[in-house]
Symmetry: C2
Subunit: 107 residues, 2 copies
DNA sequence: CCTTTATATAACCTATTTGTTATATAACCA
DNA sequence: TGGTTATATAACAAATAGGTTATATAAAGG
């Protein structure tokens, strides 16, 4: 699952998560994404490359601009993997509940 | 959200995801976790430290052993953040559906 | 006690990440 | 056509990650 590597790794950076949060509000150009950060344009361009590589965003070409927006594919894959963890945790909790329930009468 | 940094970053490594998948089946000691990998024990110990730091696992002390198991906290936080993305994507899709629906009659 | 077993830590190396500045490209506009 | 705007890329530095081997620690077991 090389894609999960890229997706989780992309999400590990707070700047990139902030970019995704911004894109959740709608499409934005590179300069619009640069504006809120205290960071140079090349730095943001590279973050965008990482996000695109991870399948988290897609870009159109519109004259000299490259508007970005969220892509659905990667999120689904991440959700699926986390689902495994979530189910395991629920199971463990159920088991723990069982243990606690069994202990109660003895007390 | 420094915790999300650590959690996503921890999940970005395939060895660590494999460890979590193993722990989803139940508690395991360090040596039990080392066994399936072609990697030294110190390497796995460090992966465990990263997972613990991210709040993804917890450890007991049992004599000389340190059995690990999944911890719930971090997964919930990740889910919450991804939920934001998920909702945004659904909204965009709805919007796209609307656009397509509006286009149909014109064709 | 001494040895073995389970785990952690230190020192080290290499590759990758993340920022920078400088520069290239390519569309737009006057 | 010549200047401006939007974006990408290259070259570089500093920090971090992820592995190794060697060694420390501490409980277990003869």
């Amino acid at each position: 699952m090389a894609n999960l590597d890229a997706a989780f790794s992309a999400l590990a950076d707070p700047t990139r998560r902030a970019i995704l949060a911004r894109l959740a509000l709608g499409e934005a150009t590179v300069m619009e994404l640069v504006e809120p950060f205290e960071m140079t344009q090349p730095a943001i361009s590279r973050h965008l490359k990482v996000l695109e590589g991870a399948g988290l965003i897609v870009r159109r070409i519109e004259g000299t601009k490259r508007p970005c927006r969220l892509a659905p594919s990667a999120v689904a894959e991440i959700d699926q993997w986390l689902g495994m963890l979530r189910r395991a945790l629920e199971t463990n909790y159920d088991r723990l509940d069982g243990v606690l329930a069994a202990m109660k009468p003895e007390k």
